[in-house]
Symmetry: D2
Subunit: 371 residues, 4 copies
């Protein structure tokens, strides 16, 4: 079976029973970055959270609150409500606010460090970094994680649920620790999961995922590669054979490194990912039949849209939405398959997927606040 | 053998002996488009053609000459020489000017129609369209060509040389009809030819060419897809399983449709192509060994640059140059191969390759006027 | 006084008394264009209109309904509701739907032609074109309008209210015909109106409005100037001394052509306008005092944000919002004034301003559905 | 008279007599930046310098030579010549190479520090920074320059010639120290100088220069403002009333701060400047008459192109050229003047203007190596 495992079943058993909350008290650490900012924006406009303002946390060493509006003028609006403040990170602040769900939009080192205490304090945590996504230690090694208490961290890791609601909805519902997926990984896993889990692909022929992302995926730090003069009017491949999201593909799709190859490229646009995925069906089929497999797989998944024949997704149609759009073409031999999967790397690839996980954890409609 | 055939050997036999001309009289039909404009620019600055101004031809139904400078202000410069004129297309104009080599930067229907007369008039022709590139009639069918004299056209087609100097230098030298390659095709063929011809690839595993091109590749016509609002901040795949350049890949690399799959994408940049190519070596090897095969293959080809380890080509580094840059990475198994091939679609993908063919046809240094 | 006149006072008197409607039935003609699409999106998400789907109308000669979602995949979302249809324009359709307010996002010729019948049928109309904005016939001449019944058109023109709620809120409240302002005009008028109406500017020194707009301002038609290759990596001035929005500046600010000069430029971005405005105060003052004049003028105007010292607006911060952001700097002499005014040309410059007018006409909160 | 002064006449007298050199030995310090790279590219392709490779210098604390090709892969080409090396900065290196002309493409602090020694060593220097452009100490104060020997620096400053060949050709011919103009300043000064020097403008009405530049103008350092996510899809004004190029406008056009106002903006494009300039003629005239004044002023200036009526310059037409293109429109009153001036900020705004100065200093054709 594709997406449960012993670990996951245990995780479900250990968790508090899910309940349909009317609302919850949330907090976001790391609102300075792009994903954190989008998350703040989504939470501020979430219908279930309308009575409250989430706690927005910056760094531990910040000395004074800052205005979220001034930090991200393009995202937060003069809605008549008092401008939200970003306060220095303190556990006490979370406690005083009665925080129930904490989002970590922090670097993976920070997420790794804070998680044990957060869980110990009874918080449910949705982590947007790569710190807790990988269960296989060989895969996780790319993150060079250091744990104060390795045994406790390993236990927590075993409990962590990969936050792809389309695959792990049940486990997420009761999870304490949700590891929100990587942006590239989301676009590729959602395209392939229905076909891989149905055993339709000829894995011996290998799968190619050629992915292209806008510059926001490279983060807010000003570097040689995020300089306008580097990114504009350009396209470049990077991380060939070594991108950190590869481990997520292997674990979630249960593939070997020989079976899937993933190459990311840097697009000269602010946001959006398009992954072109090449695979081969075991048996010759029709385009319609493959589309049907996807439609049925995602029948109850409101954030995935399967495209009709002749209508491949493109980045422009998903940017600033919370959808993952998937289209496909089948070659004249009925076996060669090309899939195109698009999403907004900051939304379905990060912030809106985190909110989708919140919705699942709270027993709300999965698309609440995302349409 | 990869790139000669009975047809080609005959073609060589029939051609005039190549001679090293000091200069030749050239003409360009179709200077209104992007490729034609780049070609005009290159010819005006070509050291062998410094004593003359090429004849620039517009449409047959143009009523009056136009200034090339006003037609393409960004390309042609106030160099103190009289501004070149674009005159209506007339066979007599070519004859009066003593034209020896005619470039056709015209739509394929026009190239197909004019070619027989051009050859009959003793012109050597370099055609930038797709009209004469494909020898297999099944492949050529995508162009829906109609010939006034099908038998004569077939004879001419058999004589036509595919104008990739790196593969067909000898045949081009004496050719009367050079069919300048497609832009996507050039980037993919140059990356693969050394490995395919050496028999190094496991063709049963298939080759994937995921290619991305700037908007100038879509031509100068204002359409829904060349509208700024469509192309900007976007990426879209198109022509999946059906792009017209596929036939060139099949014929030049002698592959079947089952062995190679090519998907083009529209990039939000003015110019440049990057093709990411996935293949599998028959036997495990080293990155250095593969690089060496490419270096030796292109040892005498000044317009191809093979990149060193850790230095993949990117579009920005080839735009406005006449080079095709090729880089590669080999997976940990020594078999999974990723190649990245970049060129400027209007230069090495069109105009500079045409000039390179001119250089070869005239016995000049192949890079003359292109560095 | 700046912004009432005899005509306007009459218009108010003739109009139906404003009432606070719970909801109204709306229709949009011209949803195929960019502004129409944004308008459709806003109306579909307007809290007062949640119980209904507006009537979306295409052209009179359309033969069949089309899906709004397929027409504008980037704007309309799979929200679970049935996908809205765009039906051919018919007066009967409007009548059958009980339409009360009609938005015309049509070319100015079409708006001019349809308006008399729309008003005669008892509809209140918000016209996004330039057809009814100008009261001075010399100014209006740039539109080359032809009326079937010139006298009736003149009467209607006299009644038309310029739909800038910040200046004409009271007149809009009861208006039958609201002429939604031009995008450039909105950005310039909102910056200058407080200072001009307070008599603070030395008009003899002249006002310069140097404005820059994204490509969506040029409309959806594929033309040489909307081609990606023309607009990308470029900046060009156009319509110097002759842009059609000039008349709006003259009439709304009550200036002469000698007193204000307006030059538009085409920016290589999809959307957004930034106008840099140069003027001179009559008497030396402080930056804070000028800011205060603006703040007081817009105290009750939720869609205008006046920026603080050291914080000039930029396009990125207003794109996809319904705000006009205004900032300013004062020179060391206390007289030289530079103002920067930014808005989204498709929202505050078109669609959201139209909804703002709807809100005013219905007695709703002016920012309803716009935050 | 506009552009000579007592200082300048003295400077001429003190200089070595100009001679028409066949070639000179050149060096460039600061080839790591954008302007230095363009300069290297121009010098490597300059016909008068074809027998030599300029000395390319990095920082004093560089430990080893680097390949220019690897430093700037998009600019330098595989021309068959050995790849130029960038060596650590040493005075001895310059001496050993017999350097006669040194280009400083270094930060202004570095240029200020090195200049006295360079001059003392008998080098002629073309400095691309702002260190030596301003003669009025109040204007120069924006650079916060510190001199080891203030008196010597002041003497050198008095001798420095502002390197705008169109205005100071004679002084440049014999100069030891040429201060290459700022990019914005060049575009504005070249547009205005003919009209200001002829006394045609009503300076009491003031001049507005609204200028827009691509991101390369902000330099190669990765900062919050050169981040792709800041610059892309955006436009922002900056340095209002305080940009450092203002002093150049005042000194070269002999204007007061009350007479000219200059506002720069950051465009979302890699390179190019467009300045829109608003002024008023003293007496009503015709567009043609104003154009004629410009044409006559630039009759012997090959790098300035005056545009005809109805043909305003745009950035796309000058990028990657060494020209400054100037166009204009006159209002219906015959007095309101709008000028549009375009250039490539890295070429006519920096590197090609430096080469133009070299050409003048050596008695060569002013456009040599620039067409």
């Amino acid at each position: 079976m594709l997406h449960t495992s012993v670990v996951e079943e245990l995780a479900i058993a250990e968790q508090p029973a899910p309940s349909q909350e009317m609302s919850v008290r949330t907090a976001v650490a790391g609102v300075t970055g792009y994903a954190g900012a989008e998350l703040a924006h989504l939470l501020l406009n979430h219908p279930r959270l309308s009575g409250q303002i989430p706690v927005f946390l910056g760094r531990m060493d910040d000395s004074a609150p800052q205005s979220l509006h001034e930090m991200h003028p393009q995202l937060t609006r003069n809605s008549g409500r008092p401008a939200p403040q970003v306060v220095p990170f303190r556990w006490e602040t979370l406690q005083d606010a009665g925080t129930q769900v904490l989002f970590l939009a922090t670097p993976h080192e920070q997420s790794r460090e804070w998680m044990p205490e957060a869980i110990a304090r009874g918080l449910r945590v949705i982590d947007l970094s790569g710190a807790w996504r990988l269960h296989d230690t060989a895969n996780a090694a790319v993150y060079k994680l250091e744990d104060a208490d390795p045994a406790a961290a390993a236990t927590l890791q075993a409990e962590a649920v990969y936050g792809c609601p389309e695959l792990h909805r049940d486990a997420i519902r009761g999870a304490r620790l949700v590891a929100n997926p990587g942006c590239y990984a989301t676009s590729i896993i959602l395209a392939l999961a229905p076909l891989v889990s149905a055993g339709l692909l000829d894995l011996d022929r290998g799968i190619i995922a050629d992915a292209k992302s806008g510059v926001s995926g490279a983060g807010k730090a000003a570097t040689a590669k995020t300089h306008f003069m580097y990114a504009a009017d350009n396209l470049s491949a990077y991380g060939v054979f070594g991108h950190r999201h590869t481990g997520e593909l292997l674990e979630q799709l249960q593939l070997t490194r020989d079976q899937i190859q993933f190459t990311p490229h840097l697009l000269p646009i602010p946001r959006g990912i398009l992954s072109t995925i090449y695979a081969r069906l075991k048996f010759a089929g029709s385009r319609g039949a493959v589309e049907k497999v996807l439609r049925e797989f995602y029948a109850d998944s409101p954030m995935v849209r399967v495209h009709k024949a002749g209508d491949l997704p493109q980045i422009q149609h998903v940017v600033r939405t919370s959808f993952c759009d998937i289209g496909l073409e089948l070659g004249p031999d009925g076996k060669q398959l090309v899939m195109v999967s698009c999403l907004d790397n900051l939304l379905k690839g990060a912030a809106s997927q985190a909110v989708q996980n919140l919705n699942v954890m709270c027993g709300w409609n999965e698309s609440e606040g995302l349409l």
